[in-house]
């Protein structure tokens, strides 16, 4: 595809991940949401794909408007059954009858049912993606219980290996880098096959370059990559309808 030849696609192996866990990290200064939007668009652009989007941060209209500017109609995809959008702005895992654990159980079961339904349809979805925006809000929904969030994530990642679907997570890394024991971050980094980190430039703000992206691709069994390269670092500029990726100094 013409689209999949930019630096981000190259770093991710020239194809969208199958059965992998992708971790997108960002910070207060530089938001990584644009990566999620771009991946969402690319996933939905495939011939038969299915996406479960767990939205804890923004309502559907927000994503709809943004993706529309990028040329992807989320409402239509939802109607066609290619997108299952879970709007959980005030999701609280703990409720009067249930404990946090049960709350996450229900959420996981819903995701699993939806993924399995997609796999077993007549027009079998070849690629299934689960996207979560974002983990820090899951922690708030869990009242700070790291263990429950980790359990939930572990279940989701086993789902990826069982049903060949991919998990794409947005996480605010700077929350954990200031902690003494960043357990959740360490687990996420261990679980993930591809890490994409958005960070500000060392030199500060700039109108033409919005930040830098570091991609760590841990995929070992990739035959067509000759050099076995693992780490990419390049800069980006976010536009309304696309994102430009370029090496420092080579933006035209």
């Amino acid at each position: 595809m013409a689209e999949l030849c930019d630096l981000l696609a190259e770093a991710m192996g020239h194809s969208l991940p199958v059965g992998k866990v992708v971790l997108i990290g960002d910070c207060v200064e530089t938001s990584g949401a644009f990566v999620l939007h771009l991946l969402l668009k690319r996933c939905l652009s495939l011939d038969s794909s299915f996406v479960v989007f767990v939205a804890l941060s923004h309502p559907f209209s927000h994503y709809d408007r943004i993706l529309r500017k990028m040329g992807c109609n989320l409402s239509a995809q939802k109607k066609n059954g290619n997108l299952h959008f879970l709007e959980l702005l005030d999701f609280s895992a703990r409720s009067k009858e249930n404990s946090v654990d049960d709350g996450f159980c229900k959420l996981y079961n819903e995701i699993r049912k939806s993924v399995e339904a997609a796999r077993s349809k007549d027009t079998k979805a070849s690629c299934v993606y689960i996207m979560i925006d974002d983990i820090s809000l899951l922690e708030i929904a869990a009242d700070g219980s790291e263990n429950d969030v980790l359990n939930f994530l572990h279940y989701c990642s086993t789902l990826t290996s069982e049903t060949d679907c991919s998990l794409i997570i947005l996480n605010h890394e700077d929350v954990y880098s200031s902690e003494d024991a960043p357990r959740l971050l360490a687990h996420l980094q261990h679980l993930s096959d591809i890490e994409i980190r958005a960070a500000p430039l060392n030199t500060g703000l700039a109108a033409d370059v919005h930040g830098q992206l570091t991609v760590i691709n841990k995929g070992l069994l990739n035959d067509d990559r000759r050099s076995g390269r693992r780490i990419w670092n390049f800069q980006f500029k976010v536009k309304e309808n696309s994102v430009e990726f370029f090496y420092p100094g080579s933006q035209h």
């Binding site: 879970l86 959980l88 409720s95 819903e110 708030i140 976010v238």
Partner: protein
């Protein structure tokens, strides 16, 4: 469970709450006159609705004002109460426009805070200024103004560039020496709540929900905008202070509430009393993030570094600016501004100007916007 939220442990929302597909302030296709908008609301780029922050300079910096349906957070400085200046102007602007205001503060009598709200300045010399500025603009073409004095002309043109009428409707200049008229404060749609002895945040959360539901009673058209102002949400004297996750939960639910109504929430909080990681979580929850910093009284280094140092009250730093339905980050020319009192009564924000340096020290100086100074880490020009 596709739309409409998940399980609710929190009190259920009132049924008049309805999901509006786009900003309910977006003008009708045929008649987009300003009269169809409720008072104090302006439509900007992308169909985004803004309300004024009460400080015209801040509105300009943020690209229109505070975005409706967003949460603005202000990180306080433990040394100085400058965040109260922002809160006061924000609340006064809402009262002047007849918008509903909900205020929560960590004192026994939050109502007394209303007595400190400023009153709008009465505009008299409007015509005169207009005349002067057009002269100046003609002259400026032939003159090359030294960079140091450009800021004075910049201020004058800014005053004129606003359409006189519109400016008085949308954003007022407030006189900090004059308190707001009593009769405005006795209005029914101003609520005050104390957070000091609150054991948990459920009461405040309920208040916010009912406040917001009252805004949308007139289904869709012309529903009034609302302002929620919360002072020092994580102040140590609040009963719920130790409960980090409860506070985060409250902010998240407030965010969800505000996102589906015509309200703006401004929350100030002393970031220094929170742990680093919890403070970062708070910062991530904000749509617009500002911080205020006090200026040390007799800092000789800063006095040498900046012009007009003596008049400055403090610094305002803009960390994040909310964007409506867009993924493009807002990059400002300058993100740190100085807070000053103009004529001892109105609050203005000015870009920082580095003072010319003695020849021998060799530090290059430039107009505000980009430079590295000896205190580069503190100030971001």
């Amino acid at each position: 469970m596709a739309t409409g939220g998940g399980q609710q442990a929190r009190p259920t929302r009132p049924s008049s709450f309805s999901r509006v597909s786009s900003s309910s302030f977006s003008p009708a296709s045929s008649s987009s006159t300003s009269t169809s908008l409720p008072p104090g609301v302006r439509i900007g780029a992308n169909g985004a609705a803004f309300v004024s922050s009460g400080i015209p300079d801040l509105d300009r910096i943020l690209g229109g004002g505070f975005l409706v349906r967003s949460v603005v957070m202000v990180m306080e400085d433990a040394d100085a109460p400058h965040h109260l200046l922002l809160l006061r102007n924000f609340m006064s602007q809402g009262i002047v426009h007849g918008q509903s205001v909900l205020f929560a503060g960590p004192t026994k009598e939050p109502r007394s805070f209303l007595g400190t709200l400023p009153s709008p300045v009465v505009q008299k010399e409007g015509l005169k200024i207009k005349h002067d500025v057009s002269d100046v603009q003609d002259k400026e073409k032939g003159l090359r103004i030294a960079w140091q004095y450009k800021k004075y002309f910049g201020e004058l043109t800014a005053v004129d560039s606003h359409n006189r009428d519109k400016k008085q409707e949308y954003s007022s200049d407030f006189d900090l020496r004059k308190p707001l008229e009593r009769q405005l404060l006795n209005s029914q749609n101003i609520e005050c709540i104390s957070t000091q002895d609150a054991f948990d945040l459920s009461k405040l959360q309920n208040h916010c929900l009912t406040f917001v539901s009252k805004l949308s009673l007139k289904d869709g058209i012309n529903s009034n905008a609302g302002r929620i102002a919360i002072q020092s949400l994580c102040a140590p004297q609040c009963g719920y202070f130790e409960k980090d996750w409860d506070m985060l939960s409250f902010i998240r639910s407030l965010r969800a509430t505000v996102q589906s109504s015509n309200a703006v929430a401004v929350i100030t909080f002393p970031a220094s009393v929170l742990s680093n990681s919890i403070s970062k979580r708070w910062q991530h929850l904000a749509d617009t993030l500002l911080s205020v910093r006090a200026i040390p009284d007799e800092d000789k280094d800063l006095a040498k570094l900046l012009t007009g140092y003596q008049d400055m009250l403090g610094f305002l730093h803009v960390h994040k600016v909310a964007q409506f339905n867009s993924q493009v980050p807002v990059i400002l020319d300058a993100s740190t501004y100085s807070l000053k009192l103009q004529k001892r009564k109105s609050l203005v924000l000015e870009r920082l100007n580095q003072a010319p340096v003695e020849g021998s020290s060799g530090v290059s100086y430039a107009t505000s916007g980009s430079c590295s100074s000896s205190k580069g880490s503190l100030l971001d020009f």
